[in-house]
């Protein structure tokens, strides 16, 4: 049945003759392990092409959804593995390309009549590079954006057409939606077309110049090793090993998905490892001559190599051998040296390492947030709207000149000049307890450095409260419960009775309500209102305008009003969103995954 079909198919297509060209080739020098690089590369190319094609089915090249769609791919069955294959397969391809080129150089396989085979192969090198460059930024990560930005600027610095080419590649002045669609076009349409065409030409020429049985002396054909299966088994064994490594890396390590792009974030750009040698080379030129490293040297090297078959022709056997050996040795040595110098420098760069560590923490957080769903605004919105991430940044910028935020282990944000209380755990029981303790109240990290240290409140805390020591725990519980802190909910519900008693104490006009408004009791004007003290709305209003009647009223010369003018937000220091983020952060009111954060390193 199958044989019949094969015969029929062969009658129509003549495929057996075609295949025979490939498989029946005589290997005059016998099968070789070194020659396996070619087939290895071809099959790796197929793997990368195939996985890329599959990934394409779920990728969205838009600034707001690219990261989300890649994250989605990672969540799909086998998605992470396929993406890993694509990612590591591409890198394996680059290594194989280097090895293959060096082998061809050493064996002088570029000689006549194979000049065009050599030239098309060489042309694939820059194409492969551009292929990698256009692929890395596609997930719209901070790292990818920074990379393409630098790479586009390098392109832009080349003479005459540079600026135009850059503008077209980026699709405008800065990286964004059009950059992603342009990169996708290059990465998924134009480059595959060009590379596939060149590869087909390259392989076709190889076959054309392979000797056929008829062209060889009969004694060489008789009993000679044939490509199939003598060379094939070597090819495939080597490919199995290489593919095995790539698959293993894809399965255990996986392709990274760094932080989504966010212009707020500071990122120190570095190229991928295979470009580090060019990056390092740049350092040895003054800025005005940088173009020598980024453009001139690569171009000259390329042209030299392209012309090599013709240069080789005029050299003697010996000179050619030396020349070829020197090229390979010089490239291998300088590539290795430059790459490792660069890696070493980065490794010892404390600032860079610290910033990478910081990014890693943020990345984990963003992945945890993304697990709970990515809103239509996109993944960078997750970063921008997360109190846990934005809180410390805002606090440092606007509050830390006077306030500290330091936990019980002494970790956190120190005040530049401690003029106001430590706000860590603001309105929690511990915090209220410290405030209502005569020593805690006057401590430097609480109200000791404020004008309030000499106010009526000081009189109340220092002289009044010790008299009611047995009621104090109730008072503390009640006041803290007003804040409705999410991390204290269980405690607050359990102590409902105590809190009710404490609230009575708060509302008694002989005690707190003498100076504070507490629900219906007391009046505003002396001390800040204690109704819902420390709650979301209280804090928001307080930060917006501590000079409001409900708070310090006209006595406020302690604290900046960050958003006193509701009707003209543009006149305020902070917008509502920032205040909300600060408030949520101070109240430790942020999303935490139920189960311990699922790291992407975990595999199904």
């Amino acid at each position: 049945m199958l044989t019949n079909f094969k015969t029929w198919l062969n009658d129509r297509t003549g495929y057996q003759k075609m295949l025979g060209l490939y498989s029946n080739r005589v290997l005059p020098n016998g099968p070789s392990w070194a020659a396996t690089t070619a087939s290895c590369m071809l099959w790796m190319f197929v793997v990368v092409l195939l996985t890329g094609l599959v990934l394409l089915s779920s990728f969205s090249p838009s600034a707001s959804s690219a990261w989300a769609s890649v994250f989605y791919i990672e969540q799909q069955p086998a998605g992470s593995f396929l993406r890993g294959l694509h990612y590591f397969g591409a890198q394996a391809l680059i290594i194989l390309f280097g090895l293959h080129t060096m082998r061809v150089l050493l064996s002088a396989a570029f000689r006549s009549p194979r000049e065009l085979v050599w030239i098309t192969g060489l042309l694939l090198i820059p194409l492969l590079m551009v292929w990698a460059v256009t692929g890395n930024p596609l997930p719209a990560t901070q790292k990818g954006y920074a990379q393409i930005d630098v790479e586009a600027n390098i392109l832009g610095s080349s003479p005459v057409i540079g600026p135009f080419a850059r503008q077209i590649l980026i699709g405008g002045d800065s990286v964004g939606n059009l950059t992603l669609t342009h990169l996708s076009f290059l990465h998924m349409a134009l480059l595959p077309l060009i590379v596939i065409s060149l590869t087909i030409f390259h392989i076709w020429q190889m076959f054309r110049h392979a000797p056929t049985d008829k062209e060889l002396p009969p004694e060489m054909v008789e009993g000679a090793a044939r490509y199939w299966p003598d060379q094939s088994i070597r090819n495939w064994s080597v490919f199995a090993v290489v593919f095995g490594i790539v698959a293993w890396l894809a399965y255990t390590v996986g392709a990274p998905l760094e932080l989504p792009a966010d212009p707020e974030l500071h990122h120190i750009a570095r190229p991928e490892w295979y470009f580090l040698f060019l990056f390092e080379l740049r350092r040895y030129f003054p800025p005005e001559l940088e173009i020598i490293a980024t453009m001139v040297i690569p171009t000259v090297a390329m042209i030299f190599l392209l012309l090599l078959p013709f240069i080789d022709r005029v050299c003697s056997q010996r000179a050619s051998a030396i020349l070829r050996f020197v090229i390979v040795a010089a490239f291998a040595a300088s590539w290795t040296w430059l790459t490792f110098t660069s890696l070493n420098r980065d490794w010892n760069d404390a600032e860079l390492q610290a910033s990478r560590l910081e990014e890693e923490k943020l990345r984990e957080r963003v992945h945890a947030l993304a697990d709970a769903g990515i809103p239509p605004e996109g993944a960078s919105f997750l970063l921008a709207s997360d109190p846990k991430i934005q809180g410390p940044i805002l606090f440092e910028r606007h509050c830390a000149s006077c306030h500290s935020h330091v936990d019980e282990n002494g970790e956190g944000i120190a005040a530049k000049e401690q003029k106001a209380p430590n706000l860590y755990g603001f309105a929690s029981r511990d915090w209220v307890k410290t405030v209502l303790d005569p020593e805690g109240w006057t401590a430097e990290h609480m109200f000791g450095n404020t004008e309030l240290a000499e106010s009526d409140m000081s009189y109340g805390v220092v002289d009044g409260l010790p008299d009611v020591a047995e009621d104090l725990p109730k008072l503390i519980a009640a006041l803290s419960a007003e804040a409705e802190l999410p991390y204290q909910v269980d405690q607050d519900t359990a102590d409902a009775d105590i809190i009710a008693e404490g609230l009575e104490f708060l509302q008694s006009e002989d005690n707190c309500a003498m100076c504070h408004k507490v629900y219906d009791a007391g009046e505003n004007g002396i001390g800040p209102e204690l109704t819902l003290y420390g709650s979301r709305s209280w804090l928001r209003d307080f930060i917006s305008n501590p000079a409001h009647d409900r708070f310090y009223a006209n006595d406020n010369n302690y604290m900046t009003a960050f958003a006193p003018d509701r009707n003209h937000p543009e006149r305020n220091t902070l917008d509502e969103k920032s205040i909300d983020l600060l408030v949520d952060w101070l109240r430790q009111d942020w999303y935490e995954p139920e189960t311990p954060a699922v790291t992407t390193d975990e595999k199904p």
Binding site: S65, P77, G79, L85, P229, W236, A240, P375, P376
Partner: protein
């Protein structure tokens, strides 16, 4: 010849192994949408205050919920529409208030069902399926009329509950999606 066969078998084995490592994941990835559970139910949800409903007069309300669309989560999106009909005047005891809820998705092929106040029945604008005020399939007296719907409108679990402060009533609906085109009501 022995050796040659052995080598060929070796090549085939390697090829098969690599293809398996490559194509099994590809198959799983591509077929993932087939196995994805649809999250059609969003639990009981307050859709209207009882006072908004007039007895016997259908009112359409949107169902708002989270909608996961591929990689995007829409936090408040309209995930469906529901027709509410209040059946009695009762407004004291929530247990005795009777409100019915019907999905506005036509069981024929899924258009949105309208209500015609003059004729006092539901009518689907796409292919003219008609339902009475109990959601049941109706046959019009017109010559040649054939109701295209395979079943009546899908009724949903609907309750009247006290509001949090206790002096108002909410209508609560458990929205659900059903397969279209079947004479039986089967959840999606």
């Amino acid at each position: 010849m022995q050796r040659r066969t052995l080598l060929i078998r070796g090549c085939q084995a390697i090829a098969a192994a690599i293809m398996a490592v490559l194509f099994v994941p590809i198959g799983r990835f591509i077929s993932a949408p087939l196995f994805r559970k649809s999250q059609s139910s969003s639990g009981a949800q307050r859709v209207a205050k009882l006072g908004q409903l007039e007895v016997g007069k259908p009112m359409q309300v949107p169902i708002i919920g989270k909608r996961q669309d591929g990689w995007t989560l829409y936090p408040d999106s309209v995930i469906g529409k529901v027709w509410l009909i209040r059946r009695n005047e009762e407004a004291e005891n929530p247990e005795e208030c009777k409100v019915d809820a019907y999905s506005a998705v036509c069981p024929h092929i899924g258009c949105g069902i309208n209500h015609s106040p003059d004729k006092n029945h539901f009518i689907c604008p796409c292919h003219g399926a008609v339902f009475d005020e109990q959601g049941a399939k109706m046959n019009l007296e017109e010559p040649g009329y054939n109701n295209p719907s395979p079943r009546g409108m899908d009724s949903l679990i609907c309750k009247v509950v006290n509001s949090d402060d206790g002096d108002d009533f909410w209508v609560e609906v458990e929205y659900e999606q059903f397969q279209i085109g079947l004479s039986e009501q089967i959840k999606k």
